[in-house]
């Protein structure tokens, strides 16, 4: 895990900005519900009238309102309004919006801050509401009676059309105060939003009286808030897109760097490390596993980090909004988490197994396809079917379980969210009834609660993503943390430039890690320049292992290998391998052309040198027959070239390097006798001064070698020329007689 974070370091700025954008996104998303509810509550319900403070008011109405105000309130209102005069700067604008404003004396609200307006709101709201109610009442006797009942006063039955306000102004101050107190008391139980809501109708009536078009006021309001909402939406879109951009770059970038490191690391591996991992597994680690990690990084930066930001933001807002209902969110989250945790603790082990089971079914299928003939030969079809069925049943059961757990989860989550909102409405409406909170608060709380729950849900997704990712990360980490066994020495020594190609084994033993027995035991021999040293032995005798120790594909367990008097572990690997031309058992070519493959040994080789090498390796004739000759394409893995041709190209490649030491690691056995012989003849000429080390099973190939080392089960059982060994070495004799008949030996 830590190592992955390290890979994000170069993208620290990108990641930080991406996360900051998540904050922007969260803040915008959290403010979006406010705009949405404003559109519905204010824009549609209140006709676009935001508060109970009218922008323009007739002075006659203002006078009426003063009746219901304390002197202080009256003062604050007077200071908030200006008399509209034609010389005022905003005269044109006001009269355009309120055409009737020209007709009488009107007051216009000064340019006030929203806090100041909020302070005025209850004052004007109450007064407006009182005036409005009385006006309505005076027009309708039935309402007047209702009002009288409500205020507990005997209101005079007035004839229709009487100006009730003139009447009120005439009654004694004491009695008036009584009425005003009664009205105030009535309003005391109302919260400001309800006053606003109720007074909105009065403001609207006033606007209408001043000739304003209420519909355009409403439409303007909705458009204004809608515009804000769209603006916030744009902020969201832009921040999501930018986040997507940055997270993609960070994820893909970290993946690129990681891929590069894994690849370079593997390139530094010796054969030993390769064998512990297996080639296929290393390929997967360098490709699929890293793609997995890339996905996870991107997901993290887009969704997983977003959830807690959103969750915390929503919790803060919810608590600010209605602290008394916070427990509901707590309850919701607790229920949600306990369900999620239960579900995941049940299913996590199964989740982890999915990939392994899919791999298993692939493997069994692949095996039954590649083994068609064998399976039919041994009549093991039923055994194979059972093997497949077992893998199939395992996979199906596991998937069924995992999917069914998910099936439980989704409706459960939906139910929790729905149940939670019902609970909030139920509890909330009681709180509303008790005037502890307002309806709007409840609605907002509901939104926040949903966001909190939802962000917890998103966070729980980590349980799905992380296990799969950690497997990949661990597999990558396994590669990265390997300290290759074979390393260059800290202070490498140079080769002596004069002596060239002397290879010496001194008491060498070798054992594979964790093996029970030594593969090689106490091997000592010397291969001299200008001579051919053959290593012969049966399969498993360790003859390939011997030559693998020379270029340090493996390091000896005991003893030492010397080249030109230097322990191979004292020089750099590059220096060492410069001296060796190695031809592997399996001819390996890379995609490209014939020429690019040969040039792999020496990029600066002349055309003549290349042709020469191909000639010696007996490759010229078939190269000439290929379409394009030297430029003939070689496909990946060299599949368009036959095994024997590949081998000859591999030999030509090694020849082009012109090293002092040649190692043929069982490289000649893929050739037919004729080519083998011709090749050796040509080689003898061109490699006259070199040290030749040939591993083989064919006696005919090495009969004339200066030295033959006979290996049996990891030990040297004979050393000498063909003739000497025929005399002294039983194992060698056995080998020879199995290959050459007596008749042939005589010749």
């Amino acid at each position: 895990m830590l190592r992955t974070i390290k890979y994000l370091k170069p993208y620290a700025l990108t990641v930080v900005v991406a996360i900051l954008l998540l904050f922007v996104q969260a803040i915008a998303e959290l403010s979006l519900p406010n705009y949405m509810s404003d559109i519905v509550n204010v824009g549609i319900q209140q006709g676009g009238i935001e508060n109970a403070v009218p922008q323009v008011i007739r002075s006659s109405q203002l006078e009426k309102m003063y009746i219901f105000m304390t002197p202080e309130e009256k003062n604050s209102i007077q200071s908030a309004y200006d008399l509209l005069t034609p010389s005022a700067a905003n005269y044109a604008a006001i009269t355009k919006k309120f055409p009737a404003a020209t007709e009488g004396e009107v007051y216009v609200l000064k340019d006030l801050s929203s806090e100041e307006i909020d302070a005025l709101n209850p004052i004007t709201g109450k007064a407006l509401l009182a005036v409005y109610t009385l006006e309505q009442a005076s027009a309708d006797p039935a309402k007047m009676a209702e009002l009288g009942q409500m205020t507990g006063m005997e209101l005079p039955q007035l004839p229709a059309g009487t100006d009730i306000f003139a009447l009120l102004q005439q009654i004694p101050a004491e009695q008036l105060q009584q009425i005003v107190d009664a009205v105030s008391e009535q309003f005391a139980s109302m919260d400001s939003s309800l006053i606003t809501q109720s007074a909105a109708e009065a403001v609207r009536a006033e606007n209408e009286a001043l000739g304003a078009d209420p519909q355009s006021i409403q439409t303007n309001y909705i458009l204004r808030v809608g515009g804000m909402m769209l603006l916030v939406s744009v902020v969201i879109v832009v921040s999501v897109i930018l986040n997507s951009l940055l997270s993609s770059r960070a994820g893909a970038g970290a993946a690129r760097d990681m891929r590069r490191d894994v690849f370079s690391k593997v390139e530094s591996f010796s054969k030993a490390e390769f064998e512990t991992f297996s080639t296929a597994s290393l390929i997967t680690r360098c490709t699929n596993d890293i793609t997995q990690v890339q996905m996870v990084i991107i997901m993290m930066l887009r969704l997983v980090f977003y959830a807690p930001i959103m969750g915390v933001g929503a919790i803060i807002l919810a608590v600010q909004n209605s602290p008394s209902m916070t427990w509901i969110i707590g309850l919701g989250v607790a229920v949600l988490l306990s369900i999620i945790l239960t579900i995941f603790s049940i299913s996590l082990p199964r989740f982890k197994r999915i990939q392994a089971l899919i791999d298993r079914i692939n493997l069994v299928t692949r095996e039954s396809l590649s083994g068609l003939m064998v399976i039919r030969a041994f009549n093991t079809q039923n055994f194979e079917l059972e093997r497949f069925d077992k893998a199939n049943v395992d996979l199906t059961e596991n998937n069924l379980f995992v999917n069914r757990v998910m099936v439980v989860m989704m409706p459960a989550m939906t139910l929790i969210m729905n149940g939670l909102s019902l609970l909030i409405i139920w509890v909330g409406s009681h709180q509303v009834a008790a005037s502890a909170i307002q309806v709007g608060d409840m609605m907002a709380f509901l939104q926040y609660a949903m966001q909190v729950v939802f962000s917890f849900l998103m966070m729980s997704m980590m349980f799905i993503i992380l296990p799969r990712a950690t497997v990949s990360i661990r597999r990558i980490d396994d590669v990265l943390k390997v300290d290759p066994v074979i390393k260059d020495p800290e202070t490498p020594k140079p080769f002596d430039q004069k002596s060239m190609g002397l290879v010496e084994f001194r008491n060498v033993s070798f054992r594979y890690p964790h093996a029970e027995e030594d593969v090689l035991c106490n091997i000592s021999f010397t291969a001299k320049p200008g001579e051919t040293t053959a290593i012969i032995g049966s399969t498993g005798s360790g003859k390939s292992t011997v030559v693998n120790l020379i270029p340090r594909f493996f390091d000896v367990t005991d003893g030492a290998v010397y080249i030109d008097g230097r322990d191979v572990r004292e020089v750099t690997q590059v220096d060492l391998r410069k001296r060796i031309g190695y031809i592997p058992q399996r001819g390996v070519l890379f995609s490209g052309t014939i020429e690019s493959n040969l040039r792999y040994a020496d990029e600066n080789a002349t055309e003549e040198e290349i042709n020469q090498a191909a000639e010696t390796a007996q490759a010229s004739s078939f190269i000439a027959k290929m379409e394009g000759g030297m430029d003939a394409p070689v496909s990946q893995g060299g599949t368009n070239v036959s095994g024997g041709q590949k081998q000859r190209l591999a030999i030509a490649r090694a020849l082009l390097k012109k090293p002092p030491i040649y190692i043929f690691d069982d490289a000649l056995s893929a050739l037919d006798f004729k080519t083998d012989a011709a090749l050796r003849r040509a080689l003898n000429k061109s490699t006259e001064k070199s040290t030749m080390i040939i591993v083989t099973q064919r006696v005919s190939t090495i009969k004339n070698a200066e030295q033959i080392v006979v290996l049996d089960e990891g030990e040297i059982v004979g050393k000498g020329t063909h003739d000497q060994l025929m005399e002294s070495c039983e194992t060698y004799r056995e080998m020879v007689s199995s290959q050459l008949t007596g008749e042939e030996l005589l010749r």
Binding site: I44, Q215, V240, L372, W426, H514, F673
Partner: protein, 623 residues
Amino acid sequence: MSQNTAPIKRDQGVHRGPLGGGPGMMRGGEKARDFKGTMKKLLHYLSPYKVSFIIVFVFAIASTVFNIIGPKILGKATTKLFEGVVSQIAGTGNGIDFEYIGNILLLLVGLYIASSVFSFIQGWVMTGVSMKITYRLRKEISEKINRLPLRYFDSTSQGEVLSRVTNDVDTVSQTLNQSLTQIITSVITMVGVLVMMFSISWLMTLVVMIILPISAVFIGIIVKNSQKYYKQQQEYLGHVNGHVEEMFGGHIVVKAFNGEKRSIEKFDGLNNTLYSSAWRSQFISGLMMPIMNFVGNLGYVAVAVLGGVLAFRNLITVGDIQAFIQYVRNFTQPITQIANVSNVLQQTAAASERVFEFLAEAEEPPDTTNPVVLESARGHVEFRNVHFGYTPEKTIINDFSAEIQPGQKIAIVGPTGAGKTTMVKLLMRYYDIQSGAVLVDGHDIRDFTREGLRDKFGMVLQDSWLYNATIMENIRYGRLDATDEEVYQAARIANVDHFIRTMPDGYNMMLDEETSNISQGQKQLLTIARAVLSKPNILILDEATSSVDTRTEVLIQKAMDNLMQGRTSFIIAHRLSTIRNADRILVMNKGDIVEQGTHTELLEKNGFYAGIYNSQFEEADIY
């Protein structure tokens, strides 16, 4: 109040697959050749699960409908609450009508529980069905593999078959399990929401419908671009993977030629190209959601403006606008899903087409109903006027006849590509001959069951097939009921016992998934041990000696000689030493048998065999 299931489902589908294209949407459109026919077949295949599907449909619809009507009912509760509050203020009514609200909430609790239970039942049944189908498809494919004639695999690569077992079956199962449900719910949601919207205001609904073409344009642009970049990414990923495979596969050569630096340089170039297409592809696939949300918000504002106007003219109530607006918010998401449906269906069709094609391939002709049963064969083999060709148009073996007495050793020789394994394939009845007959102990091999026939043979193939199990289990593969002691015995005969014991864990060593943790020669020895264990009456060695060195070969030969006392054997080899002792040599060239006889007879004949023998003899001794 948008407490429906929408957000959960939306995020469920966003990131699937290793490279983050959901199924269908982001990948290139892969098309079935015969969409209709395949869909019919698929439906037919699904017909045993008819009842389950009906349950799934009914419950998915019920669950979605309940979820859709939820907001409308809840709207009643909030309206009542508002009214209550207002009346409380006005002092006129009786305050908040908790009984009414309580009843509505209880109704909703019931509704939501029912919806969840329905959705749960639907999912449970659907998962069960799709898993059953997946299991069945895989099983049928695996059985099919064993019934197909070898001929089929001449023209079909392993990879192709493999990808049907895994990728194609997975695609079918995934689209069934998730997309089918998603299709149902999103169509129902969209229709339901539309109906609800129309029931409130047709005019506002028409305005909302404007979203559709806008969405279509955005979806179109995004899908097109993301497919482009997705393909590009896959292509470059392929290049990187190719280089990785090549370099890791040829690791030793890279090392030997100090090529690490060059290899890393090339890798860096490919890796950087991959990076620039990878982030673009990832980036574009992340655009869909925010843009669609934005389009949804546009609709929201449009509806609000229009709603305000309508409300002002008393053409609509405020409560209705509220409900309508909630529906608008749920409208965009199913659009995206439905836009994806045709892609998903195409994918399903393409995948199931490949699976069904495979299952419909012609199988081996059935075994005879009245088979010959031999306890053990004496090993008399006769080829009588055999004609054979891998394709009917091209006969390669023309009128071949030979009679082999029990216990004889037959060598099959010829240059590479001469068709030496053909004889084995005919004997084991991997292929049926066109005319003539092959007889074992006087019975036509077609009168045996295949199992009864092959039981008499023991075979060691050129490519030594082993499987991912212990060495012990691999040897035991020759005879599944063999005891441990018999396995050791067979290993000793095959001269592989010592090697096995030097390996970590000895006989219990697991061969890895590529069986690459032992050498080719060692593998060959294990397959020999396996053949030894099967105690065959007739032995076939198909170039079995090519990767075993001659000394080991001698030991094996000795063991085989013992084993084959009185048993017939066919050996395919290049080596003269093996051939010389044969009772009869079949010389093959260009698929046909050109000569037969003993070593001396053939030399005297001075024909094709003498030609190869003499040339090899010269070359071998040229040193």
